[in-house]
Amino acid sequence: MKKDEVPQDKSNLESANFKELCYAVDENGEYTTVNSSGWDPKTIALNKAIEDINERVEDAKQRVLNNKTSPIEYYMEFHKMDLPILSSYVGLWKWRVKRHFKPKVFQKLSNNLLIKYADVFDISIEQLKDINLHGN
């Protein structure tokens, strides 16, 4: 990649007001570094990934509202987590967390466990029990 070929496309970096560093060769064939504001192919990839996450969150939300799963799954998806990540944050076995996805099991969870989950998701217990109280 030549110095003047370093892409300067619009990207999500703009919001944080920073540019990333790329390596490219100058007129004399010497390597140098150039700041880049972004590159479309990867911005598209990133946006796609975020779209997918939003879809997963929306899907989980509907299933919570239809009483098919517990709010824990919704908050897990909202925080871009998966089962292994969530279970390591709350310090429980994966199968236990998975079991807590069942609305019936969730209803009977002890206060201590609820506090654990609420802390990980940085929300109150009321919000944990009712996703309608969750902002966004």
Partner: protein, 332 residues
């Protein structure tokens, strides 16, 4: 208190921390040099690790290993510690800052508040330097950022004790012992040899063979996984290749810069020629990313398109195979 520390922006966090800490201690080591000596370049498909609901691909060596190899090869000693309790981790950090010693930390990205929201995933192998503390705010030099920044005590604790794969556990590290003079020549040769070995390894998921294996997977995905998943996986490959920190082209440009710098130090014009070749290979990776992005941009991609990008990868694999064989000979 603030340590007199100069922040240099780098492409990749780990090389950047190495380079910035070395410069702080009076050794001028560039980012490509740290990357090359630490044998950072790689290609690996990790089938059993799912990241963001897609299989993981990596273009670099495992987190932490670049610094480890670099230190061993140039003869510096690094002190490393992990902690069970956040209080202990904080105490050790404060102690070092008091002694005027800037330190490297491994952190998770998800709660890193100065990153744009879109970039905050559960990725736990990010690196930064802490170079001071004012009241309860730490002064942070994050190598991928253009300028220095800050984190509160609470914010820093959160990222140091992120959970999940590669959990940092408060990991703190800093060089403690330096040789009189860095023996770069030997270290460069060792670094290059190791990279050649990795890239030409007879393991199906690693190096050149790994690239071919990935091409085969791409051909299969649309039928086996459906178009939606196939596109998601393809996007994952491009993201790993071009995400912040790679310097573009899946680290191939940084490696080319390393070869160019090495050719001067070792006085080997061959390496300079090979550097040019690596730059062209980097361009091929970029072309692959452009064509792959066309596929996941419009959902109704034809099967032919997948075969096309798979073929591109196979051509890249052939080029890299020839390249690393030549590089191996050049360094003998």
């Amino acid at each position: 208190m603030e340590i007199n520390f100069t922040h240099h922006q780098s492409a990749h966090c780990e090389n950047g921390v190495i380079s910035n800490l070395m410069k702080h201690h009076g050794y001028n080591v560039s980012e490509p040099m740290a990357f090359g000596i630490g044998s950072g370049l790689l290609f690996c498909y990790i089938p059993f690790l799912m990241v963001n609901h897609a299989p993981a691909f990596t273009y670099r060596a495992l987190p932490g290993i670049i610094f480890k190899r670099f230190a061993k090869r140039v003869g510096i000693k690094i002190k490393r510690e992990k902690f069970k309790k956040p209080q202990q981790a904080k105490a050790r950090l404060d102690e070092n800052l008091k002694n005027n010693n800037p330190v490297g930390l491994q952190v998770g990205v998800y709660n890193l508040v100065y990153f744009p929201d879109e970039y905050r995933f559960h990725f736990n192998a990010h690196n930064l330097v802490v170079y001071g503390k004012e009241n309860d705010t730490y002064l942070i030099s994050d190598p991928v950022m253009e300028t220095v920044t800050t984190l509160t005590e609470k914010e820093l604790e959160k990222v140091r004790f992120a959970k999940g794969a590669f959990a940092p556990k408060g990991h703190i590290y800093y060089p403690v012992d330096f040789p009189k003079e860095l023996d770069l020549e030997k270290a460069i040769v060792k670094g290059i040899k190791h990279t050649c070995k990795d890239m030409l390894a007879p393991i199906p998921v690693l190096g050149v063979k790994g690239i071919r294996h990935t091409a085969k997977l791409i051909r299969k995905w649309p039928k086996k996984k459906g178009v939606k998943k196939a596109n998601h996986y393809l996007g994952q490959i491009v993201r790993m290749q071009e995400e912040i920190g790679t310097g573009g082209g899946g680290f191939r440009y940084i490696f080319a810069a390393f070869l160019q710098e090495s050719s001067k130090i070792l006085n080997k014009p061959d390496l300079s020629e090979l550097s040019k070749e690596m730059t062209l290979i980097g361009d091929s990776w970029r072309d692959f990313a452009v064509d792959a992005s066309r596929i996941y941009k419009n959902r109704s991609a034809k099967e032919d398109a997948y075969n096309h990008v798979a073929l591109q990868l196979e051509v890249i694999a052939d080029k890299e195979e020839i390249f690393f064989k030549k590089l191996k000979l050049a360094i003998k």
